[in-house]
């Protein structure tokens, strides 16, 4: 008996309705924890941040008054904020570009059979599993301005002459390079795994058919692999971009925004102003500054992803 037949049987209708109602109730119950989680840990803090950004709230006080857009006007006049805004874009786009390109290369390498593949996969995943605070301590030593092992190595191989030294964390440009390096190191495993999953999900027959049609490696990459991986690639990029835009851990642990506040990103500056400096209103204004942009970016990327799925 088909569902349509059941629907037409009058005696069964109330039973079906009950079942359907039960399903709906069960659905709501199953969805409730996720909704509660999103509401309590995402929506509520976000609304609170939005609210606080319009106040003169400070860390040592529960009293505040509304100051309108004063916090936003104040941060927009600040050279430190403008620098942090620029750094946030550089940090996000450069690191994501590197992560996607290197993740692709690694994923393709890991597709091929070779000896010790399991060990290599484990080693690649290690940075993702390591606590960032612990890992950054290692990087702090690697980039230390006085004791950097990179510099000592460069000295040994003759790259750095007498009196020459790279002050990785004491120079604004080298500081950003160090921050991006650590972040790429940290994000690469996740991206590699995602892309590896995407690559393995492409049926072999499609590539075989392309081979028969005489498609070269480039044509296969741009006309088969990339289009078929687009949905998963979009998810990887979206996750990476949002995560990087809102991350402060690497900056805070490596340079603390220095030298002279030149390597801050918005998240670390928000922490410095709002938590360390005690100006919660200003910190909140800095923190939520990029929310509209992130929302637009997420919507666009999800639409691209959905279209690619339909195709």
């Amino acid at each position: 008996m088909s569902t349509a037949d059941l629907a037409l049987t009058p005696a069964r209708a109330p039973a079906l309705e009950t079942l359907s109602r039960r399903d709906r109730r069960l659905g709501k119950i199953l969805l409730a924890p996720a909704l509660a989680y999103i509401f309590l840990l995402v929506a509520l803090p976000f609304l609170l941040a939005l609210f606080l950004s319009l106040t003169n709230s400070s860390a040592g006080s529960l009293d505040f008054s509304f100051v309108g857009l004063q916090n936003f006007r104040s941060v927009l006049r600040s050279a430190v904020f403008l620098r942090a805004l620029r750094n946030t874009f550089i940090f996000t786009f450069v690191s994501q570009l590197l992560v996607i390109v290197m993740g692709n290369i690694l994923a393709r390498a890991l597709m091929r059979p070779f000896r010790g593949k399991l060990l290599v996969r484990f080693l690649i995943l290690l940075p993702w599993a390591a606590p960032i605070s612990l890992a950054t301590l290692g990087w702090l030593w690697i980039f230390d301005s006085t004791f950097s092992v990179i510099n000592w190595l460069l000295k040994v191989v003759g790259w750095l002459g007498p009196g020459q030294w790279y002050y990785w964390l004491g120079d604004p440009v080298l500081g950003m390079i160090a921050i991006i390096t650590v972040h790429v190191w940290r994000m690469l495993p996740f991206s590699t795994v995602i892309l590896l999953a995407g690559l393995t999900s492409i049926p072999k027959e499609v590539h075989e058919a392309a081979d028969i049609d005489g498609a070269g490696p480039l044509a296969k990459t741009f006309q088969i692999t990339l289009p078929m991986m687009l949905p998963i690639l979009t998810v990887a990029v979206l996750f990476g971009v949002v995560f990087t835009f809102t991350d402060m851990s690497v900056v805070y642990l490596l340079t603390r925004g220095g030298p002279y506040n030149s390597t801050h990103v918005l998240a670390s500056l928000a922490f410095q102003d709002g938590v360390l400096g005690g100006d919660v209103g200003r910190g909140a204004a800095v923190a939520i500054f990029l929310v509209p942009l992130l929302v637009v970016m997420a919507v666009v990327m999800l639409r691209i992803s959905r279209r690619a799925e339909v195709v």
């Binding site: 040592g60 006085t146 120079d171 340079t255 410095q272």
Partner: protein
């Protein structure tokens, strides 16, 4: 093997036992709750001299056990002291006592007035040292928001051999000496990466070092009445000096230093002068480092104005939160902590200096002589270091550190605005930008001055900070 009947019987017994336990549960809980009135939770920093924590924790527990109070001590790294306070205020729960190592003034509104504690201590020991008073009392709101049991001097640390080789065996005495010595140090010790290691980075030690430079050139962030006076010819002179010093004696390394970096650089003999308390020296002693025989100290440097000042390196500020349910016990604890000033100083290997000198006095000393007696005891320790300095009087200058030590906020009192400026590195950034040429001294000064005025303005609106009529 159990039969089904036995299983059910045992199960029933277990259920009955559970029910009985549940029925007496509230009683146990009530006892626990009654006992909870006699608990005290203390949040303390992880001391730079780890031996201190080994003394403090058992001491606190023992103090509690004698009074039937369960004392819990938690330690956090110095950088987490303020974020942790912020979190506890937001949650309105946490520890009863919170120790700040810098300025607690931003939290004034959420702590109880401990005027009575300080009053009790003054009756027992006489007044505290002035810089401790200026760090824990707000004259504008007339609130004693914290109790200080100790402060830490911040002398210069110099490499005796290197400075002897350049003809200055006693080390530098003025800021100008650093500029003169830097090229000479490069000549006699070319292996040293940073001849003069004065930090200009976003860290606590740099924050103090640049203030010393500012004050000794006659500048300051605020005047004694809380007016913002950073924008002055004196500050400009200090910035120009920093630029000169940086160009002859420093590298970009000092822009990236954290609180441990200057210690590490000096202990590795990569620099010939740093500003630090004796914690780096104690580390060198504990590890028997080669630098030890050349590890010597000088007092704060004099500026061209003749002013010789250094910020305290650490100023303890114990607050009792308003949300604490053990406020009276907490007050007793703080009095006891000051009572133990001698033990505290010895446990920290002479790192901690008592905020109430009288608390270090010999027993039965008349009230009028207590401060003097305490100072004599402190001098005795410093003149013959019980922790193995060679020569034994290596630390004797610390006993005379009080006249050249001052509080954050000098020449005024510490206040929340000074605290925010400190914690967001406004002054270190001004010096770093001017020194490196990222901005001209004048532009760096204007930028910092505007930010200081903005911060002071905000706190004045909240009624926490005085001044504004004479802001520059």
């Amino acid at each position: 093997m159990h039969s089904r009947r036995q299983f059910i019987l045992k199960g029933a017994k277990l259920v009955a036992a559970g029910a009985a336990a549940t029925s007496v549960g509230p009683t146990v809980f009530a006892r626990g709750a009654a006992g909870a009135d006699k608990t005290l939770k203390v949040l303390q920093w992880a001391h730079f001299v780890p031996a201190y924590d080994k003394w403090f924790d058992p001491w606190a527990k023992e103090w509690g056990s004698k009074r039937g109070v369960e004392v819990t001590v938690d330690h956090v790294g110095f950088a987490d002291v303020v974020p942790r306070a912020t979190a506890e205020v937001a949650a309105q729960s946490g520890h009863d006592i919170h120790m700040f190592i810098g300025l607690a003034s931003a939290f004034e509104e959420h702590v109880i007035d401990v005027k009575d504690v300080v009053g009790t201590l003054e009756k027992k020991y006489g007044k505290s040292v002035d810089l401790a008073h200026r760090s824990t009392y707000n004259p504008f709101t007339k609130k004693q928001f914290a109790v200080s049991d100790m402060w830490v001097p911040d002398p210069g640390n110099y490499h005796k051999k290197v400075w002897t080789d350049i003809g200055m065996p006693a080390g530098p005495a003025t800021y100008e000496d650093l500029v003169k010595a830097a090229p000479e140090i490069k000549r006699v010790a070319p292996q040293m990466q940073i001849p003069i290691g004065v930090g200009l980075s976003q860290d606590i030690d740099s924050n103090m070092a640049v203030r010393n430079m500012l004050w000794c050139h006659g500048g300051s962030i605020q005047d004694k009445d809380g007016n913002v006076v950073l924008n002055s010819p004196e500050t400009l002179k200090a910035l120009e000096y920093a630029k000169r010093l940086y160009s002859v004696g420093m590298t970009q390394a000092v822009l990236s230093w954290n609180a441990a970096s200057n210690n590490q650089a000096f202990n590795a003999q990569e620099t010939a002068y740093i500003l630090n308390s004796i914690s780096a020296y104690r580390t060198a002693q504990d590890n028997k480092l080669p630098v030890l025989e050349n590890y010597f100290f000088v007092p704060a440097l004099k500026g061209p104005t003749g002013i010789q000042l250094a910020s305290e390196h650490v100023m303890s500020g114990y607050v009792i939160w308003k949300f604490s349910k053990s406020q009276e016990i907490a007050k007793e604890f703080l009095v006891a902590l000051v009572d133990a000033s001698r033990d505290s100083m010895l446990a920290s290997k002479l790192y901690n200096f008592p905020s109430f000198y009288g608390a270090a006095a010999d027993p039965n000393t008349p009230m009028a002589k207590k401060a003097e007696s305490g100072a004599a005891w402190i001098a005795k320790q410093c003149n013959a270091d019980p922790f193995g300095s060679q020569p034994g009087d290596k630390l004797s200058l610390l006993a005379k550190a009080l006249p050249w030590s001052t509080n954050l906020g000098y020449p005024g009192f510490a206040n929340p605005a000074e605290g925010e400026i400190f914690d967001t590195y406004v002054i270190t950034d001004m010096f770093a930008k001017a020194a490196t040429g990222a901005l001209s001294p004048k532009d760096a000064l204007n930028e910092a001055s505007n930010r200081c005025k903005e911060i002071f303005g905000k706190w004045r609106k909240k009624g926490m900070v005085a001044g504004d009529s004479k802001d520059r």
